[in-house]
């Protein structure tokens, strides 16, 4: 019993990202307001960014910027966190923001047309037209 608990807490970062991902997915599916759905999408994408950054972490390491005074020919790789996941997630964050921007533009047009942001009202308006 105790070792199950130990196993659980040892990988707490992975559990955290799964919980956040499910929260985001739930918001996207269950909420009726379009803006809340978009926030759910953002949360979903953020969880994946957390996962990537968590993979690259090293115990006792600092951010991947060379400390002043290090000899460029003898750099200890264990002192610095893996930079590649950070780079990949910079790209992913920007892509997420761009998607959110386009989504907001689309939502603005929907609002201009239907006068409401609730999904069920929009669908009933379309069905009746």
């Amino acid at each position: 019993m105790l070792d199950i608990f130990a196993q659980f807490t040892a990988k707490y970062n992975y559990w955290a990202y799964i919980v956040i991902m499910m929260v985001g997915l739930f918001a996207m599916i269950a909420k009726r307001n379009l803006i809340k759905k978009m926030i759910g999408l953002s949360i979903f994408q953020t969880s994946i960014m957390l996962f990537y950054v968590a993979i690259g972490a090293k115990k006792g390491a600092t951010i991947p910027i060379l400390l002043s005074g290090t000899d460029p020919h003898h750099i200890d790789a264990t002192m610095y966190v893996n930079p590649l996941p950070h780079v990949l997630m910079l790209t992913a964050i920007v892509v997420g923001v761009a998607t959110l921007g386009v989504a907001l533009a689309l939502i603005l047009r929907i609002y201009e047309k239907h006068g409401t942001l609730e999904e069920d009202e929009i669908i009933s308006q379309i069905r009746s037209s």
Binding site: I48, F51, A92, V102, R109
Partner: protein, 486 residues
């Protein structure tokens, strides 16, 4: 030497210059677009020649050799597909010129720019050899798609938002899969990944990674049951956008799946055993569902969109059945389907311009008023049904043979049933268009020869490609499938 990247460069340059021209000198926008597409097509044909004579080309971007840098890998099949995509987009661009330039000037520049960027994204997806670069290019193609699909009839914006939600979830799932693979193997490069996975012990995380990766790709290519976004998006948007995107998006994603199955995970390396079986089941359901739902549609474009859903089933089923014949059939079907869908949608674009509405009741007497366009449509429809010697017949034949060899009888039944359903669907349309008398309105807008020529050329291409299928299979496809696949 620089050929793999030269296909994308004119497209990117053209899109940036088109935006600048839209705000300074508006008359240059369309010429820039056409010039970029023509340059790109020339480079792509050159690339095909080079790859056919020299073999697979790799190109290190940034000068860094893989796996430190990003690499483009172009083999015979990718080169051919790149050429097909670019020439198809050129045909669409030339045919639908009036619809593109009908917006006000700065918006036309944005339209041209988005079209070029969509094409650049899709060509990049086909060429790249790096998993994360693939994600970025998928998002480039997707974002431009969301924007382009937002303009159309009154329901276009909602359909585009729907596509945005589902597509973003799919891309994020793909990213998650790539993350797991990187965590396990430490590599993002496709060839490097294969060599690492050869000696990798079986691992639950690896199985989860592969499942999530493929799930993301299936969502993006509208495999049943994730196809909900496709019919709405392609039928509510403007005709130009549907013509541009329908032959590209799903086929390119199917190409990615095939690339992963043949090069990154050859011979079922690291793939959980249940995954191909589930994929074939979903593919069979996709074919049945797509054909059944196409049956109930009265709008031509909506009907074609559901047929595209069924075609995705063909490609995925053929890829996952697991023998050489079926894989060849799937690859042939990607090429064939791109050409057939392009023909049909181009013809519909012309019909829409002439008649306005695309409801079946409005389309009487089309054979008389638009003979060449309808001839091209007939060729495309025959190819979809699978009539020899058109291209569609050969790809279906390979798929059927492969399914027979692997004893996948439900898939075979689905293939045959869908061909019959296609017969009914298209002949229903032909009956209205041929036998009924044309109404007395002279037609909404004229369709000049420059709009009919591309559609006719693409339709003739279907015949030419069908007759030379043996050549295509030997030269282009056979070398790409690993020899271990029987």
């Amino acid at each position: 030497m620089h050929a793999p990247v030269l296909t994308i460069i004119p497209l990117l340059l053209g899109s940036f210059l088109a935006v600048m021209a839209g705000w300074t000198r508006k008359s240059l926008v369309y010429p820039i677009g056409v010039l970029a597409l023509i340059l790109s097509s020339t480079f792509s044909v050159q690339l095909v020649m080079q790859v056919l004579s020299e073999g697979t080309m790799t190109y290190d971007l940034g000068g860094w050799s893989p796996p430190w840098g990003i690499v483009f890998i172009v083999d015979t099949f990718s080169a051919f597909m790149i050429a097909l995509l670019i020439i198809g987009a050129l045909a669409t661009f030339v045919t639908c010129r009036d619809e593109i330039m009908a917006h006000f000037e700065e918006k036309s520049a944005a339209f041209v720019s988005l079209i070029l960027l969509t094409l650049a994204g899709h060509v990049g997806i086909v060429s790249t050899g790096d998993l994360f670069n693939l994600y970025v290019l998928i998002e480039v193609a997707a974002l431009t798609g969301y924007a382009l699909l937002g303009l159309g009839n009154s329901r276009a914006v909602l359909s585009s938002l729907n596509y945005l939600c589902i597509g973003s979830v799919g891309a994020s799932l793909y990213l998650l899969g790539v993350g797991y693979l990187y965590m396990l193997t430490g590599s993002l490069n496709m060839t490097d990944l294969t060599s690492v996975l050869q000696t990798f012990p079986p691992n639950a995380s690896l199985r989860a990674a592969i499942v999530v990766l493929f799930l993301g790709l299936w969502v993006k290519m509208a495999l049943f049951p994730f196809h909900g976004w496709l019919p709405g998006a392609y039928s509510n948007s403007s005709a130009t956008t549907a013509t541009l995107l329908a032959p590209m998006t799903t086929k390119v994603m199917a190409y990615v799946v095939i690339r992963l199955l043949t090069t990154v995970f050859p011979g079922g390396l690291a793939i959980p055993e249940a995954l191909p079986e589930i994929a074939v089941v979903l593919a069979t359901l996709a074919i049945f569902a797509g054909s059944a739902m196409a049956f109930r549609q009265t709008n031509i474009r909506r009907m074609l969109a559901y047929i595209v859903v069924a075609e995705v089933g063909y490609m995925v089923g053929g890829a996952f059945i697991g023998n050489r014949m079926a894989m060849t059939g799937a690859m042939l079907h990607i090429l064939a389907d791109a050409a057939m869908t392009l023909t049909l949608f181009l013809a519909v674009c012309n019909i829409a311009r002439k008649r306005g509405s695309l409801e079946l009741s409005n389309l009487q007497g089309l054979f008389k008023s638009m003979p060449f366009t309808m001839a091209a449509f007939v060729l495309g429809a025959m190819s979809m049904i699978g009539v020899p010697p058109l291209f569609g017949f050969f790809s279906k034949w390979y798929l059927l043979t492969g399914a027979l060899q692997a004893e996948q009888y439900p898939f075979m039944v689905a293939l045959i049933v869908s061909s019959l359903v296609n017969v009914v669907l298209f002949f229903r349309f032909f009956e209205v268009a041929f036998f009924e008398k044309p109404e007395n309105n002279p037609g909404l807008l004229e369709v000049r020869w420059i709009r009919v020529a591309p559609v006719a050329l693409v339709a003739l291409l279907l015949i030419a490609a069908g007759l030379s299928t043996g050549l295509i299979v030997d030269k282009i496809i056979a070398g790409v499938i690993p020899a271990s696949l029987i």
